[in-house]
Every structure is written in structure tokens, then in C-alpha cells.
């Protein structure tokens, strides 16, 4: 595969995450959001300290990380759950995981491909790193909303063959 091909991310896949993020925020958190210009990143560290991670398999492989500023995560979870939750509680991680799951799942329906999502994982802590696919860039979609800022970090690629 030529370098040029390796470095391309299908814009349709990125657009799916933009739409999905705004839809989930609007529907489940009752918050309007603004999407900034997507940019590539190569640092394995996510943008912020709270990460909701969802893996993809099938005709799309890789992961998406919903990376929240700590205070944004607290405020978004409060709006989502209708109550303030402790940052280090199981319920807080569960809420971040469910929001991440909805963003990933809602984006997946617009891929037009046979793709599957895994059970979400959540990491909370300063300076953690995410193992990503190396042959495609990570595209960071910055989001600002009435309940706080966060970033959607998309590191996925379309594969032509689905392993048996």
C-alpha cells in the first residue's frame, strides 16, 4: 500500500462522528455543540484526562476516544444522568462509557459498512496514553458545548476483507 493511501481517512467516516456527537449531545444531554476543524495528531496521549474508548471491528477497525476535560466530564455526566456523580465512582465511568457507546454506535450507522462496536472502556487520570493504529492518522474533532469542551479522537480505517 502506498504511503498516500495509508494516510487517508475516509471523510465520510469523520462526518459520521461529527453528526453523531451533535445528535447524542442534543438528545441525551440537551446541549447544543459546536464542532471545530478536525486535525491530525500523532501524540498517543489523548487531548484530556477522561477517556471513553470504543473499539471497531469488521469492515472498519480501530477505535474512537471521547476525551473530556475533567470538569467537562463532570458537568456532562450531571446533565446526562440528572445528578452529580463522583469522578472516581463506578457510576461516573459507566456514564462516560454509555455516552461514548452512543456516539460510536450512532456514527457506525452512517458508515454504510459492516462494522461492529465493542463494549466501551473508560480511563480517568492525567497523562495516560492510548495504543492506536499506526498506519492511519488519528483525527481529532474538537467540540465545544454548553456543558463543556471535549474532543472526539477517531483512529479508524476501512478494511476490504473481513477476517473469518
Amino acid at each position: 500500500m502506498a504511503d498516500e493511501e495509508k494516510k487517508q481517512v475516509n471523510p465520510k467516516l469523520i462526518a459520521a462522528f461529527v453528526n453523531s456527537t451533535q445528535n447524542v449531545l442534543k438528545t441525551m444531554v440537551q446541549a447544543n455543540s459546536k464542532i471545530g476543524k478536525p486535525a491530525q495528531k500523532f501524540d498517543p496521549k489523548p487531548s484530556y484526562d477522561v477517556s471513553g474508548i470504543v473499539g471497531f471491528s469488521g469492515e472498519v477497525v480501530g477505535s474512537v476516544v471521547i476525551s473530556f476535560r475533567e470538569q467537562s466530564a463532570i458537568d456532562i455526566v450531571e446533565a446526562f444522568c440528572g445528578e452529580k456523580l463522583d469522578l472516581h465512582s463506578e457510576d461516573f465511568a459507566d456514564a462516560i462509557g454509555e455516552l461514548s457507546n452512543m456516539i460510536a454506535g450512532n456514527a457506525k450507522k452512517d458508515f454504510g459498512l459492516e462494522a461492529h462496536i465493542g463494549i466501551p472502556s473508560v480511563i480517568i487520570g492525567t497523562g495516560h496514553s492510548i495504543a492506536r493504529l499506526r498506519d492511519v492518522p488519528c483525527v481529532v474533532i474538537p467540540c465545544t458545548s454548553e456543558v463543556g469542551d471535549f474532543a472526539v479522537e477517531v483512529n479508524i480505517k476501512q478494511v476490504s476483507c473481513v477476517p473469518a
Binding site: 447524542v24 444522568c81 440528572g82 463506578e90 457507546n101 454506535g105 450512532n106 462496536i117 463494549i119
Partner: protein
């Protein structure tokens, strides 16, 4: 009206419970995956309606629905999931799901589907 709520996310079960609490005489039984869902039916007896997520650890919602339908053809089941592609919806309906709600959803949308499903089954919320 007794609901069985099956989702590995407690957050989601709590959101469902808040929505359902607006219905008169509603009570809920909760389970965190398909295995717990089947056990809850055995331990608590029949329910009036089930809300079941698709993607869960241990046993997913689709497998649970198929197992429920081996012995129970009538209890209404609504799948509430991020799986929004048409082939998945068809797969769920074939497995025995009566109605389908795609996450994210508004409270009104969920209540509307519950009402519609119960009416089709000859019950009222």
C-alpha cells in the same frame, strides 16, 4: 405494569427507570446482561414487558431474546440499542423483538414505543 430492564449500563437503566416512573403503577426488575436477564425472569416470575440492550458482556441481548422466545412467545420485548442499521433491526425482529428504539432517544420517544408495543399486545401502560 412490571418491566424487566436489561442493560449493562446502570446509567442507562436509571434513565429508563426515570422515564418509566411517569407511568402509573410501574415497577421494575433490573439485570446487567442476558444471563442475569434470564435469571431475573426465573426468580421474579413473568413480567409485562422487557427493555433489552443489544451489546452486553456474557450474553448479548439478541441471544437473550432468542432464549426467551423458546418458551415465551407473547411477552412484549423492546430492544433499545445503538445498533441502528436496517439488517440489525430485521435480525432483531426475526429473533422475536416486538419493537425497536435506537439510542440516543428522547423520553417521549421511549414512552411512545412502550405505549405502541403494549397496545399491539393488547395491554395498556
Amino acid at each position: 405494569m412490571k418491566f424487566l430492564l436489561v442493560d449493562d449500563s446502570r446509567t442507562m437503566r436509571n434513565i429508563w427507570k426515570k422515564v418509566i416512573s411517569s407511568l402509573e403503577n410501574s415497577e421494575t426488575v433490573e439485570a446487567g446482561d442476558g444471563v442475569e436477564g434470564l435469571n431475573a425472569i426465573k426468580e421474579n416470575g413473568p413480567v409485562d414487558i422487557m427493555l433489552v440492550d443489544w451489546n452486553m458482556p456474557n450474553m448479548d441481548g439478541l441471544t437473550m431474546v432468542k432464549k426467551v422466545r423458546e418458551t415465551d412467545k407473547t411477552t412484549p420485548i423492546i430492544m433499545v440499542t445503538t445498533e441502528a442499521e436496517k439488517p440489525r433491526i430485521i435480525e432483531a425482529i426475526k429473533a422475536g423483538v416486538n419493537n425497536y428504539v435506537v439510542k440516543p432517544f428522547t423520553p417521549d420517544a421511549l414512552l411512545g414505543k412502550i405505549d405502541e408495543t403494549l397496545k399491539r399486545a393488547g395491554q395498556t401502560a
